[in-house]
């Protein structure tokens, strides 16, 4: 913002233009001359008065009579004034000099000295004028008003010579003496200009109140505003944004400067006209005229400099931004967006966005960002802006908005400079929205389009996570292997190592998973997921029947403060269950006593109480156990989520069966009393809970139990039913053939208690039901939808409850479903997963049969025949499966044109008396007959 320095602002010589031509005059008497001159002076006709006064001087100037000399003092003075205001400064100066020689201590001596100095100044003899002002100050005692004029004149001499340093002292005097706001303001403005030129900023601030006024001289002074701009620029260039801001804000915009100057000039001209017409204070007129001259010079100078308004506002806005005054910055940048030329407007809108990103709430940041995207789809800042918006959405965890925004962004700018970042964010957002396939797609796109990206490691990791959560364990394992092999120093490497083991676990490769987990824990004992890894080792050990290591792993897991409460509870209760089943009751008591003592937020206290009671009971402390239970039921019975209470009640019922009849009767009486009390309180949770228990009341008739069941199987009970009640409702509904109601209960259970065992049962029911429904469905779309539902439920069971027996059933059902859908790879993988777990060996014949069916239906009877053969060779005692296997193998051999071999197989089957009695035997005989025939 460089503008040329304005010189010579305060030039003189403007008075001459005011005066009209001298009129002709007649020869008159001294008295009439005097009268005439006075009359003209009274009407501001200074030039007209000059001849009269000059003639008086000629006539009487040399007189020595006291009276005439006294009268002529005024005439001399008026003649000097008349010349002065006629613009005849040399004549004026000569007259005032003559006056001062004649009337050294006269009435008008001070004023004459002042006019004389002014005349010198207007003649451009600045040095002489300055000396004359200074001499006048020494010699004469001026009143405040005139003293102010003297200093103002002296200051103007200095300023006209562009000597700002020397102008400071007289300007300070004017500032001090000024009798009105206008002159004080003038002095304040010029003093500020001088200080700005010397960068004496601290001296400026006391003057600021004078500078910020509508009529301030600062609002019209080019010199002042240019000095402020230059000072601000220096500060800004030195990164002194705060001081730069304070100075920039003192600068009046070019437009304001022009407008105010013109407006003020018009006002001054009007005032000057009025003063000229009336007999006023001539020095006031002089001051006004001088101001007019200055103002005209200002306007001329202003025309010579470029309009700096946009640049000034930009710098102010940027200074605010640097000072973290983002609100102010945003307002100004938005203004610039509207007011500035296109190039500046675009950047201003972007910077308004940048400021907005620092202001909560972020709504306006998004609004401005979207405005930019609309206005400048090919803009210079499109890429950083859109990426930042995406990051802001991520910070707010507004995943759908992020997906929509970055999808649109990449549609507009497929060659986005931060395309990899955008895709990573998109992948992550899809992941958080559980849109795992979309997540994987985005991340794969990133890896393909930006193979050398710094984000590749991160992308591989999140790709692995998306695939893992999509239960595509094999693919996920590949992604995690890439992270571990190619990005071992990545911050995700640790997590990837753990997740890699989870992939094995998800694939039911428990031994492999355990090996990886062991290696992981050894390599990273302080990992944040160490607890989770230990818990998983516990699960695996439990599933493989290694119960002591399992409890040890669970306890270690519980010691990890990073283990979240859900996993902590899982470890605690799995460990407790093992301790109970292995009869380690003392250990069980200690285990849950420690659990209760620790009392982590979210701990399941009633369930722990149940286990302690169970340990007490089994340790021979029955009375203590019942007291313990009773207190727990009373305390937690109204909480439908307190699963432990239902376990306690179940335990109670079980104990009464082995208790003395009297004790049992007393126990049941207590339960009945509790039920009545709950009814009186209308405690519907407790009522349902106790009604469920009353189904086992030995004193209750079958009819009464049936009525109780009726009362339980009502849909309006659902909001009050805990997991145990829901489980009973589920079972009883199925027993009564009310499958639809059972499905309603199951769906409600999944929705309300998704983490419980009841949910597992519910999910299995829904999975089975959907699979069966699909088989029966005639409509293709309906069948597909049912298969999809079945897959969703069953896949969840096999992954979330991977070590539970139900997982095996789920895998088998999944295998069947995929086979129906002719997705043989997936079907075969599910059967194979069952074959990998020893604990599921009862399912192995079925799993082998499934694999055989896959091979056969794929058109590979040879491979299929091998699977069938393994069934009857290895699992012949599963006669039903053996019979089916024989028959299927024979069919395959026949399809391979190996009729002799097929005949042998069938004969072998029919030779087994047990197999020969099964329905498959009839088929075998018929086939044999065909082969023989």
């Amino acid at each position: 913002m460089k503008v040329s320095r304005i010189r010579g602002l305060l030039t003189a010589g403007l008075l001459g233009a005011l005066l009209a031509a001298l009129p002709a005059r007649a020869q008159v008497s001294a008295h009439s001359l005097f009268e005439s001159a006075n009359e003209k002076l009274a009407h501001g006709d200074y030039m007209g008065a000059v001849p009269d006064l000059r003639q008086l001087v000629d006539m009487l100037g040399d007189s020595t009579t006291d009276r005439t000399v006294a009268v002529m003092e005024g005439v001399y003075f008026k003649l000097g004034v008349a010349h002065f205001f006629s613009g005849q400064f040399a004549e004026s100066e000569a007259v005032f000099d003559a006056y001062l020689r004649k009337y050294r201590n006269g009435r008008y001596a001070a004023k004459a000295a002042l006019y004389s100095a002014d005349a010198l100044r207007f003649r451009g003899r600045l040095r002489d004028a300055a000396a004359a002002y200074q001499a006048a100050l020494k010699r004469y005692a001026f009143n405040r008003l005139l003293e102010c004029d003297v200093y103002a004149g002296l200051a103007r001499c200095r300023l006209a010579a562009d000597d700002w340093a020397a102008a400071v002292e007289p300007l300070q005097a004017v500032y001090r003496l000024a009798p009105d706001l206008m002159r004080r303001n003038w002095a304040a403005t010029l003093l500020t200009t001088a200080y700005l030129k010397r960068m004496e900023l601290e001296k400026i601030y006391p003057l600021v109140p004078y500078l910020l006024r509508p009529d301030s001289f600062a609002s019209r002074s080019v010199a002042y505003n240019v000095a402020a701009l230059e000072a601000g620029d220096l500060l800004y260039a030195d990164d002194l944004y705060r001081d730069a801001l304070w100075i920039y804000r003192l600068v009046y915009p070019h437009d304001v400067l022009t407008g105010r100057s013109r407006e003020y000039l018009a006002r001054l001209e009007s005032l000057a006209d009025r003063l000229k017409r009336s007999a006023g204070d001539p020095r006031r007129l002089m001051r006004v005229q001088e101001s007019i001259g200055e103002l005209e010079a200002e306007l001329e100078a202003l025309n010579a400099i470029d309009n700096y308004d946009i640049e000034l506002q930009t710098r102010i806005a940027r200074s605010y931004m640097e000072l973290r005054r983002y609100r102010e910055g945003r307002e100004l940048f938005l203004y610039l967006y509207e007011a500035a030329p296109a190039a500046v407007a675009e950047e201003s809108l972007y910077l308004a966005f940048v400021c907005s990103t620092q202001i909560e709430p972020l709504d306006e940041a998004f609004e401005i960002g979207n405005r930019y995207m609309e206005a400048y789809p090919a803009g210079a800042f499109f890429d950083p802006l859109t990426l930042t918006m995406g990051q802001l959405y991520a910070r707010l965890e507004a995943w759908p908005a992020l997906i929509e925004h970055l999808t649109r962004t990449l549609d507009i700018a497929p060659r986005h400079e931060s395309g990899a970042e955008c895709l990573l964010l998109l992948g992550y957002a899809h992941f958080m929205e559980e849109q795992f396939a979309d997540a994987a797609h985005r991340l794969r796109t990133l890896l393909t389009a930006y193979p050398g990206s710094d984000l590749a490691g991160e992308a591989h990791y999140w790709l692995g996570m998306a695939l893992l959560f999509d239960e595509r364990y094999e693919d996920a394992a590949g992604a995690f292997d890439t992270v571990l092999a190619q990005y071992p120093e990545s911050r995700y490497a640790e997590s990837a190592a753990f997740r890699r083991a989870v992939c094995d676990y998800g694939e039911s490769r428990f031994e492999a998973a355990d090996r990886r987990l062991a290696a992981f824990l050894e390599a990273r004992p302080g990992s944040r997921v160490a607890g989770e890894a230990l818990m998983m080792r516990g699960d695996i050990a439990g599933a493989l029947g290694r119960l002591d290591p399992a409890t040890a792993f669970y306890r270690q897991a519980m010691d990890d403060p990073n283990l979240n409460i859900e996993l902590y509870n899982h470890s605690a209760f799995q460990c407790g269950r093992i301790l109970y089943e292995t009869g380690q009751y003392d250990a069980l008591r200690r285990h849950f006593a420690a659990y209760l003592k620790q009392r982590r937020e979210g701990a399941n206290i009633p369930q722990a109480v149940y286990w302690i009671g169970a340990a007490l009971w089994n340790s021979g402390e029955q009375a203590g156990a019942l007291r313990y239970y009773s207190a727990a039921v009373a305390k937690y019975g109204g909480d439908r989520g307190a699963l432990g209470i239902d376990m306690i009640l179940d335990e109670w019922v079980g104990r009464t069966r082995s208790a003395e009849p009297a004790a049992a009767a007393a126990a049941w009486a207590e339960l009945r009393e509790r039920l009545e009390a709950a009814k009186r309180r209308d405690d519907r949770v407790q009522i349902l809970r106790l009604k469920r228990v009353m189904l086992y009341d030995p004193d209750r008739s079958e009819a009464a139990r049936a009525r109780l069941t009726d009362e339980l199987l009502r849909e309006d009970n659902l909001p009050y039913a805990g997991p145990a009640v829901l489980e009973t409702m589920l079972d009883r509904a199925l027993a009564r053939g009310r499958e639809d109601f059972a499905a309603t209960v199951a769906a409600y259970t999944l929705e309300t208690f998704p983490e419980t065992d009841t949910a597992l049962e519910a999910r299995m029911l829904l999975g089975r039901r959907a699979a069966a429904g699909a088989e029966a469905a005639s409509d293709h779309a309906e069948r597909q939808a049912l298969y999809d539902a079945a897959i969703a439920h069953l896949e969840t069971v096999r992954s979330v409850h991977a070590t539970r027996p139900e997982a095996a059933e789920a895998l088998m059902l999944l295998g069947d479903v995929y086979r129906r859908l002719r997705r043989f790879d997936e079907a075969d993988a599910r059967y194979r997963a069952v074959l990998g777990v020893r604990a599921w060996r009862t399912h192995w014949p079925a799993a082998l049969y499934g694999r055989g069916e896959c091979a056969r239906e794929r058109g590979n009877p040879l491979e299929a025949a091998a699977y069938y053969e393994r069934i009857y060779l290895l699992y012949g005692h599963y006669t039903a499966w053996a019979a089916r296997a024989y028959l299927r193998r024979a069919e395959c051999l026949r399809a391979l044109y190996q009729n002799a071999k097929a005949r042998e197989v069938l004969q072998e089957m029919l030779a087994d008396r047990e197999l020969a009695a099964l329905p498959e035997a009839d088929h075998a005989r018929a086939l044999l007959k065909e082969l023989d025939g």
Partner: protein, 355 residues
Amino acid sequence: MKHAPSRRFARPGLAAWLVPLCALAAPAGAPDAPDTFVQTAPVTAAVTVEGAERTVTLVGRAPGRVLFTVGEDAVGARSAIEVDRIEAVRFDLELDETEVFRDLRRRNWLGAARRLLPAVRPALPYLDLPANDAAEPALRAGDGFMRAAARRADLAETPEQEAFVREQFETAYGILTQAAAARFSPVGALAELKAAQCLLALGKTAEAAAALEAAEEPLPGDAAYGLYWLARAQAALEAGAHRAALDAAVKSAAFETKDIDTFPDALLAAARAYESIGNPYRARDVYVEVASVFPGTDWSETARRRLAAILDRGLTDAEEPVPIKTVFFGLKEDMNARARELLAAEDALQEEETE
């Protein structure tokens, strides 16, 4: 007060100025209904109509019109002229601007206001007249009473002092509501907004809010822009709407930096709002700014008080997170140190003056 019906100028001997005025005056024989006239104290004014200026005595108002008398026939020779036809009015204000300036230099707002009020009082019923020169001093008078009251409000302890403050605000409000009629210039809008500020100070927050709601929103560059948003900020602060207050104060301070009547107050309002929304760092910065840029003023004193409170309570002791660029280029400025230096320098100055 009731008046006789107006009569037409028809007498010979009146200056040429009267011709256009006569032409514009109400027609003879068309008296206004007596109850529509309001008599005022007579006030001399030079009225310009169709480019011609004439000195008359304004004596009353009727809807859309001004009653006046001319020359020696002031009593009983009233005429009327439509306000729309008047181009300018110059009142014969008996005002010593030098004395007013002296009061203002000493921050004696009440003194200045008391000098201004008698001069403008006769003109108050005529402030709506186009291009009149009394509107601006009337605004200054109202502003003077308001500033004096605001200054004393902080110090008032006794019921008498509080009543005095209240009285000053009410006086200011009375003057400003009349000055608000001056719609020919920014004075009207400014007076309207200052009147709303008086209502706020008088605790009439609902009325103030309604007045601000009714006020037209100015554009950046308009004379009333800074005051409009300042008043809104102050109203929002009173209502406890701190974010809205901050937004409004920021608008005022960002766009109106050349109005000493609003800029420092807007900065203080912004600082107060920053404090209220829990950002002591920015509040500190703005208080440092006010204390530095307006030294020796009431604004500076207020800023220093608040700044000392923030520093004493250690609200900005903790490191504020800064952008990485600032750290990298070593641009970080220790504002706590700068604030403490500012307070220490001022304290030393005060001690020196005391000695």
